[in-house]
Amino acid sequence: MMQLIPPAIAVLGGLGFAMAAMLVWASKAFHVETDPLVDALIELMPGANCGACGFPGCADCAEHIVAGDVTPDICTSCDAERFELIGELLGIEISTAEPTYPVILCQGGTNCKDRYDYIGADTCRAAILLAGTKKACSYGCIGLGDCVRACMFDAIEIADNGLPRIKKYNCKGCGSCVRECPQQVLTIAKEHGPVYVVCSSHDKGKYVKEICEFGCIGCGICKKNCPEGAIKLVKALAVIDQEKCTQCGTCIDVCPRNAIVKL
């Protein structure tokens, strides 16, 4: 047995040394200039390669963050301290000083008539695949909760009125729900914020009146009364230009359908 030890050391040591030498040479010979910001960010990432962000590893995620495709808050492994370091590096504030959260641009839910009784897979996407939406309004919220499942922070629930409700104390404003919503009735708004027409329907006013209690009928009263000229009608739907809006609230008072709210 003893005579096996020298060859074992020689073979394994030699092999290891040869491989190490080859890698040292290769890392010099095939050196690639990488973005130093990406490298620095990779150092700061948790390095768990958990894949919760949707990218195969932390390095890939860091590249996308630097490229601006995603924000660092898609990382669920980072704690506040790490976020602070990453924010310092990238020169951005991650722990949202001005909190953002989603707004549902629909007041339908139980206020909006159903077209048919839907029995099937409990997701909005599946319901759309069947025969358009189950609601009479083809623009509104279906209320089967794709946004609830998309939320990683348990910040959305479907309320009794059949619409999603945001739990603001849980919401991180990451926008997962906005990206997930197949009807695109969700949008990100800032806190202390703006006035929104909470309806997405481009249907004609008469039809909207028939099916929904709160839908925008495109009457244009808000447009006439707005002192800033910030409202325009897009295919029978009032749209507020958030740049011009001063949040005076005139439109909220004059809207005959209560379809405009201040958040």
Partner: protein, 203 residues
């Protein structure tokens, strides 16, 4: 001291049964349950599982090419067969690292689609399993390469099939297929299908 017998370069074995064995009857994921980390982690998305399958097939074939000479010309003549595991891991990991350097330098698109998976495979048990089985079965050099390539193909089809199933079912919100438990449930169903099919239909 026993005689040193080298199986030879050219395959004398029948190659078709070796390929079928590697791809189906002794499938690495479903029958031997090797390489499950990547199976559980990446089959929620067919794009990533495609990249991983390509990378694993490539690394398996290349490590078979590399490890066979090391075993028969370095370890066996010195009676150091007990060092095979650590030597193979060393060789595979360094090779994977080298390949990563090279494609990072010369083919950034390939690096983006493949290179990110390479570090994940360097210690993948399926890759080590292939080279250890090559040695255990006394395959010739040609047959060991064919076996490794077949094992890679077997890994690939299971990854792609499971990813297709899981992607659809997760989209429809079937919770059974969501998460780790769902992945193992999917693996169980696929394994049942493969194992029972090839125990009824004899090759």
């Amino acid at each position: 001291m026993m005689d040193i017998v080298t199986p030879g370069y050219m395959p004398h074995e029948a190659l078709f049964p070796i390929v079928v064995d590697a791809m189906f009857t002794k499938n690495f994921l479903l029958v031997m349950f090797l390489g499950l980390c990547s199976f559980v982690g990446l089959t929620t998305n067919s794009e990533t599982s495609k990249g991983m399958s390509m990378a694993v097939t490539f690394v398996m074939t290349m490590s078979a090419i590399l490890t066979w000479p090391i075993f028969y010309y370095l370890l066996k003549p010195n009676h150091l067969m007990f060092l095979q595991t650590i030597c193979f891991i060393l060789v595979i990991a360094s090779f994977v690292q080298l390949v990563e350097f090279i494609i990072h330098r010369y083919s950034p698109p390939l690096y983006r689609s493949l290179g990110i998976y390479l570090p994940l495979i360097s210690t993948n048990c399926a890759v080590l399993g292939v080279v250890l089985l090559n040695v255990k079965e006394d395959f010739s050099y040609g047959a060991s390469i064919v076996y490794a390539f077949g094992a890679g193909l077997g890994y690939s089809w299971v990854m792609l099939a499971t990813a297709a199933v899981r992607e659809k079912l997760i989209m429809r919100g079937v919770d059974l297929f969501n998460g780790f438990i769902g992945a193992f449930f999917a693996a169980m169903m696929m394994a049942l299908i493969v194992v029972s099919y090839f125990s009824v239909v004899k090759l």
